[in-house]
Symmetry: C2
Subunit: 191 residues, 2 copies
């Protein structure tokens, strides 16, 4: 929790009252590899800030195939934000790729916090703006780069993630088949 | 400008002072088909709220190929948000697909507005949250749907946009070749 408090304090003043509130709506938890934090189809009322480990959010299509929206490591947030912001049931599943420590927040109470302590709006806005930038870049990369270029860019940007992923996690994030990913890896190892 | 003021008033109180400020940092403009509002590689200090017409944001890759990030019609915002939020030069071009009326805002002054009238933070946060939801959905659709399914979904969600687009606009939004899009259209017309 200290990491998150520091992260916030780097960006803005944090009153003792606000800090106490943050503690009161959060819970530090440890999950094991394979644990499911959010189930597709269920109600979502939790948001997670990762302090250690690696998690993945994905949806499962009608044929049972998984499609990875996001990986999350230390200092990242993960949840089903479509469900939270739209007040819908989860279209995503969030699972642990390795033992992970997270701070679990009640999403509604986190939202209430913005009413109680409006100074948090700026922090939250900057987080959302950064998130929008990353999503725009991901869409543009998906449109303009080859699968091999996208894979190399991913390794360059997030070198610590690949070790926790299985072949189909990465392939389903890049939007390619596992066979294509294997070919790309073989090509890369030859260079 | 009235449309936008009403849109804001639907969501929150708007003091006369804040309304006056909004007017002071904005300018209603009409652009012709083909006009470029933002040029890739240049500084970006404008954000546009569309009141009529249709605009498109896209990047041009090293081979001169265009990739469409977004279309914008009435009541949508468009700009290069990567450039604005990250304070970078434009990676996108924003152009008019038909004669369009927009409200042009100075992006920095719009940001200042959030400091001057903090009640706008909530409005802005909800806009950003909705934007994040749309981007998450777009990425998931790109991963799990076929090109034909994505095309049909686009027509279903935004039936008014296609009429303003050329073949390569739509193909470069869906991430497919123009030939594939033509095939999909032929198949669709046979049904």
């Amino acid at each position: 929790m200290k990491t998150l408090i520091e992260k916030i304090k780097n960006n803005q003043n944090l009153s003792q009252e606000a800090e106490d509130y943050l503690y009161s709506i959060s819970k530090e938890k440890t999950f094991s590899k394979g644990d499911i934090l959010i189930h597709q189809g269920q109600q979502v009322n939790k948001t997670y800030f990762v302090t250690e480990g690696c998690l993945r959010s994905y949806c499962i299509d009608k044929n049972g195939k998984e499609h990875t929206l996001q990986f999350a490591i230390k200092n990242w947030w993960i949840s089903d934000f479509i469900a939270i912001y739209n007040n819908e049931l989860a279209t995503l599943t969030v699972a642990c790729l390795k033992e992970s420590k997270v701070i679990e927040f009640n999403a509604k109470k986190l939202d209430t916090m913005l009413n109680l302590f409006p100074e948090f709006e700026i922090f939250q806005r900057h987080q959302l703006e950064r998130h929008v930038v990353n999503l725009h870049k991901r869409i543009l990369n998906q449109l303009q780069l080859t699968a091999s270029e996208r894979y190399n860019l991913f390794l360059e940007q997030y070198p610590e993630i690949e070790q926790f992923t299985r072949n189909y996690h990465m392939a389903s994030y890049l939007g390619i088949t596992q066979e294509s990913l294997s070919r790309i890896r073989v090509e890369k190892s030859k260079k």
